[in-house]
Amino acid sequence: MSLLKHHTDMTRGDKYLLLLLLSVSFSLMFVLYGNTTIFHSKSRSTQAVVTVNGDIIRKINMPTNSRYSFAIEGSSGSFRVELDGEKIKVSEAHCAGQVCLNQGWISRAGQSIICIPEKIVIRLEGRTMLDAITQ
């Protein structure tokens, strides 16, 4: 009869269609949601900003391709700052408390390593989960 001359079981064309729709929706998800923090397990940092005494002496785009380090001159000696991919840390310091050394690696946007006597601030800027906190 006229109704059953149409396919009613799932055809191969249907399966291709299903695959097409699934891939379209998944790629749409990447396009639309890819830059939001929902997709990142931690807050990505985009830049490491190093300031001494309030002046920005260095801005490094994160994440870096390779592991490298540079030196900062402080009043008690030189500091070595090391970067590796998404992480940054102070690897050599001659200050009194060595707080900056003890902090180790930081990798998330908003984190910072601060040496108060030397007035060195290494801060990771980027997209964070919270934009501002009122107090």
Binding site: S2, L3, H6, T11, G13, L17, L18, L22, L32, Y33
Partner: protein
């Protein structure tokens, strides 16, 4: 003459069915807090009308079912009504296109396309209505939920069509595809 009366009666039946399905869907709550996700049961009726009578009657059934359904359900001329009209038109057009010009898709595939295009039509209408692009962020979710609901309604229509054939209930009602 005979065919016209039969066609009128059956189309009216389909519209009534579609309306009641529309109303039933309004009452069905979802386990997830996803607005706009529906089972799309009324698409069964639209697709059946397309199969039996072609594009013009299919669109008539679709539009009238949104009309009557929203009238009876209290959403007449509301935003949901406008979204429903838009979704129904896009969905019917997409299903009719596939039906008319291709032979390789089954009921299930066409129903799936109908559900997905219904959602796409609704989102486009919503973004026009709200003059905002933010609504489009909801598109992947609706696409992904539209696929299983479309397949589900496709299977329902498949068994419905097979049952109709077997019982011979519509011997005088179907017309040749034109």
């Amino acid at each position: 003459m005979r065919l016209n009366t039969h066609r009128l009666v059956f189309l009216s039946l389909l519209i009534a069915l579609g309306t009641s399905l529309h109303l039933v869907e309004m009452l069905l709550p979802l386990p997830l807090p996803l607005p706009g996700v529906k089972l799309g049961l009324a698409n069964i009726v639209t697709l059946l009308a397309l199969y039996l009578y072609g594009f013009r009657d299919g669109v008539t059934v679709a539009l009238l079912r949104v009309f009557l359904g929203s009238l009876l359900g209290g959403t007449f001329l509301s935003p949901a009504f406008l979204l429903g009209i838009c979704g129904a038109v896009v969905s019917t057009a997409a299903m009719a296109l596939l039906l008319r010009h291709t032979k390789c898709f089954s009921t299930i595939g066409i129903s799936m396309v109908g559900a997905v295009s219904h959602n796409i039509g609704q989102i486009l209408a919503a973004s026009l209505l709200l003059q905002s692009r933010a609504v489009l962020y909801y598109l992947p979710v609706l696409l992904l939920t539209g696929i299983p609901t479309g397949v589900f309604t496709g299977y329902i229509l498949k068994s419905l069509m097979e049952h109709i054939e077997k019982s011979g209930a519509l011997k005088g009602f179907t017309q040749q595809e034109n």
